[in-house]
Amino acid sequence: MEKQILFLDLDACTGCKSCVVACSLRKEQKLEVKTARLWVPKKESICLAVPVICEQCKNAPCQNVCPTRAISRDPKTNALLVDSQKCIGCKECVWACPFGAITVRQGVAIKCDLCDGDPECAKVCMPKAIQYVSLEEESFEKKWHSLEKRIKALATIVGGK
């Protein structure tokens, strides 16, 4: 059976940012936007928001560029995990990620680890903009379509004029 993934539905996202604070509460035991493993940029004049989170790429640029091989794949969840012992905080992965889904805090890269198969962001998202689901191979198109839409929205929001 295909591993579960975080499926993001732009049309369902209301921009409430519950996922952001829920993430930091789960991972850091406090409410803090900057240590959340996802972000939700928003353009308020057109009420458009888009969740941005690690896509757990099959051929992952972050993993490929890491000079210390600190990034490995969790065989259980398929999540790309950062080994904080090996990580030297060089930010190569931050630059390599096409989605902006990795940050470095206190000298260590932090990113989504799918909460070991129980992702908090999906649990708090009542409009189901973030769902933790199994998608079979044939729904590759669905995943691609979702990604394409989100990237366009992201360009509208952060792209400036």
Binding site: T14, K17, L31, V33, C47, P127
Partner: protein, 648 residues
């Protein structure tokens, strides 16, 4: 400190100085946060009655909820408190959006604006870096332009802006403070107070953390409450169709006020419903305030006629009622345009619609002439005149703009000719929100005693309609019998009102949305107390938190008592007390003085307030830990003479 940041940011605009005051958890235990701590600050900072609300002695206080910034559902709201320019009494007004959470992440729970700047300024807060900046280039811009300009200047797309539009600058009495562009702290004229201080905007960016006492337990409980709220039937309707999703139901009861409260039913009401927004493709997106599971806010675009392409947040139930039903312009696209103008000019849609409806009736009766309206054909149903009137008000243009910008009470006093009889405000002066109180008796009582004037945003008693299983269960809990879940009874209304006002005060003080506690019921006093306890570490149960709510309400009442208010101000608009409802199951019903008096007597008795003056007794205040307030009122001669103990 857990839960709160424990910091109040003071900004003295006269002197150009800022400083931070720390508060301890005792203040939080007594007044919770948000609206509660705001009320305490207002009482202390305005030390005497009868100051000018638009003068430098007034303060403008912003307060985030104790749980704002957390995963508690729908907990991101902000309360603004000051002495109000319409009523010259206590004013709290509340807004959603994302500004409050951002303020909390910047490290502050409250902001107090003191004094008055000598030229237009705006304030930027980036964590500990607080600046008062020149706003010459922003003065005159609308809310959307102001927000986008400031976000660009701060070079941070995550900055959140609360600001006023031209209406606030021009001291329109019912100007709103707007945040996240389309979220209004609309009622009562806080925008005019901000304008009088010459503050265009407060922009905030925060990167700090909020610590909780028991983070994992809080997370588990908040998640459970989120699920409960998402499963509540009222919340689901709000998500699907917004606040105007219930409009058709209210219209079926002939309780949807229109044409300045002369009628209660519209034969073809569909264009004004949330269902119509969805089904006809007006709705572009459902929008969530910070940490909200319900996301009732709408983002819409006009599709037909001269306003094609107009986009805005809204319209809400109240906006459909005020700008469409009351003016008799039953057209979705026109409402969207009118709503957009109110949002970007920074006007309260309720007072705007009410004032224009009053003017339309006055014009049709010949009390206002074409000379008074600067040539505008101000008639019910004339869409063009609605748009012209909104622009006239926001910019105080001409005779019409200057008259209507004062609100219905002052406008009707100026015009005379008994036009106060169709001015839909009570003795306090605020335009009534669009609830047919003649056939909803708990609402009638709640509106009469609301310290800021007659509206539903102090005590929302929607449960009395029994429109959902959850509402019926609540009425049964409060009265012992579900048969009282009907708005036509006067029995048990004081009990229903009192529970809801305590609950509403807690709701506002923790940062929750009233829709989560009194339209949907999944967030309730018990789980609010538990979440408060786990967030702050302060022992709290249902009884304790409701007592805090009562303390807050009583202090708010005392602000008005200090200003000289008494029982005479606890009434309803003349039309609703003297002209019966026109049609339907409620035909013939009224809010007579006699009926209201019966409910008021019981209500004051439940509060242990004096029935004659409506003032709280000394013992009542002392029991709530408000002894200092009692002392001050005693000095002013505003404590009732006889104690209720052993009285009669």
């Amino acid at each position: 400190m857990y839960g709160w940041q424990g910091k109040i940011l003071h900004i003295d605009l006269t002197k150009g100085k800022t400083w931070t005051e720390e508060f301890n958890s005792k203040l939080g235990e007594l007044f919770l946060g948000g609206r509660g701590i705001n009320a305490k600050l207002l009482w202390s900072l305005i030390a005497k009655p009868e100051i000018d609300p638009l003068g430098p002695e007034n303060v403008l206080i912003f307060g985030t909820g104790a749980l704002t910034g957390t995963t508690a559902p729908s907990s991101g709201r902000t309360t603004i408190t000051c002495k109000g320019p319409i009523t010259n009494l206590y004013l709290k007004t509340n807004m959603g959006g994302h500004w409050g959470a951002e303020l909390k992440f910047a490290g502050y729970d409250h902001i107090v604006l003191h004094g008055r700047a000598n030229h237009p300024v705006y304030i930027t807060i980036q964590d500990d870096n607080v600046e008062i900046r020149d706003a010459k280039h922003l003065w005159g811009l609308d809310v959307r332009e102001t927000t986008e300009t400031i976000v660009e200047e701060m070079d941070d797309k995550e900055a959140k802006v609360a600001c006023i539009g031209p209406a606030g600058e021009n001291l329109v009495k019912f100007a709103a403070v707007m945040s996240s562009v389309y979220h209004a702290a609309g009622r009562g004229g806080a925008g005019a107070v901000m304008g009088s201080k010459k503050v265009k905007a407060i922009a905030v960016r925060g990167t700090k953390s909020i610590e909780l006492w028991k983070p994992d337990e809080f997370r588990e409980l908040a998640l459970q409450v989120r699920k409960n709220l998402a499963n509540d039937s009222g919340a689901q309707s709000l998500y699907n169709y917004g606040s105007s999703g219930s409009l058709g139901f209210v219209n079926d009861l002939h309780a949807f006020p229109n044409r300045n409260f002369k009628y209660g039913h519209i034969d073809y009401v569909t264009p004004l419903t949330g269902q119509n927004l969805v089904e006809r493709g007006y709705l572009l997106r459902r929008v969530g305030c910070f940490s909200c599971t319900t996301s009732c806010h709408r983002f819409v675009e006009a599709k037909n006629g001269p306003y094609v392409g107009t986009y805005t947040g809204g319209p809400e139930y109240e906006t459909f009622a005020a700008l469409a039903a009351q003016t008799w312009i039953i057209d979705t696209d026109t409402v969207i345009k009118a709503n957009e103008l109110c949002n970007i000019y920074g006007l309260d849609t309720i007072s705007t619609g009410s004032t224009i409806a009053w003017a339309m009736e006055s014009y049709e009766r010949g009390v206002l002439t074409k000379d008074d309206t600067d040539g505008v054909e101000l008639k019910f149903g004339n869409a063009d005149s609605l748009i012209k009137a909104i622009e006239a008000i926001a910019f105080r243009k001409g005779k019409l703009g200057n008259l209507l910008a004062e609100g219905v009470k002052r406008a009707s006093e100026r015009v005379g000719k008994e036009s106060w009889k169709w001015a839909i405000c009570n003795a306090k002066g605020l335009e009534q929100s669009n609830v047919e109180t003649r056939s909803a008796k708990a609402y009638a009582l709640a509106f009469a005693v609301n310290p800021r004037g007659p509206d539903h945003l102090h005590t929302e008693t929607f449960a009395e309609f029994g429109a959902s299983p959850e509402a019926i269960a609540l009425i049964e809990k409060l009265t012992g019998d579900k048969k009282w879940a009907s708005p036509y009874y006067v029995e048990y209304r004081p009990e229903i009102v009192r529970w809801h006002e305590d609950c509403y005060a807690v709701t506002d003080s923790l940062g929750f949305c009233a829709f989560a506690t009194t339209a949907a019921y999944a967030v309730n006093p018990q789980n609010m107390a538990e979440m408060f306890h786990l967030a702050t570490g302060i022992q709290m149960d249902e009884k304790g938190i409701m007592t805090a709510g009562r303390r807050i309400i009583t202090l708010e009442k005392c602000f008005n008592v200090r200003e000289g208010a008494d029982r005479k101000l606890d009434n309803l608009p003349w039309r609703l007390m003297n002209e019966p409802a026109a049609s339907g199951p409620a035909k013939g019903m009224m809010n007579s003085q006699q009926e209201l008096d019966g409910m008021l007597d019981k209500y004051y008795a439940l509060h242990e307030w004096d029935a004659k003056t409506s003032w709280p007794y000394k013992e009542t205040l002392e029991k709530l830990g408000l002894a200092e307030v009692a002392d001050e009122l005693e000095k002013l001669g505003r404590l009732p003479k006889k104690s209720h103990l052993g009285d009669e």
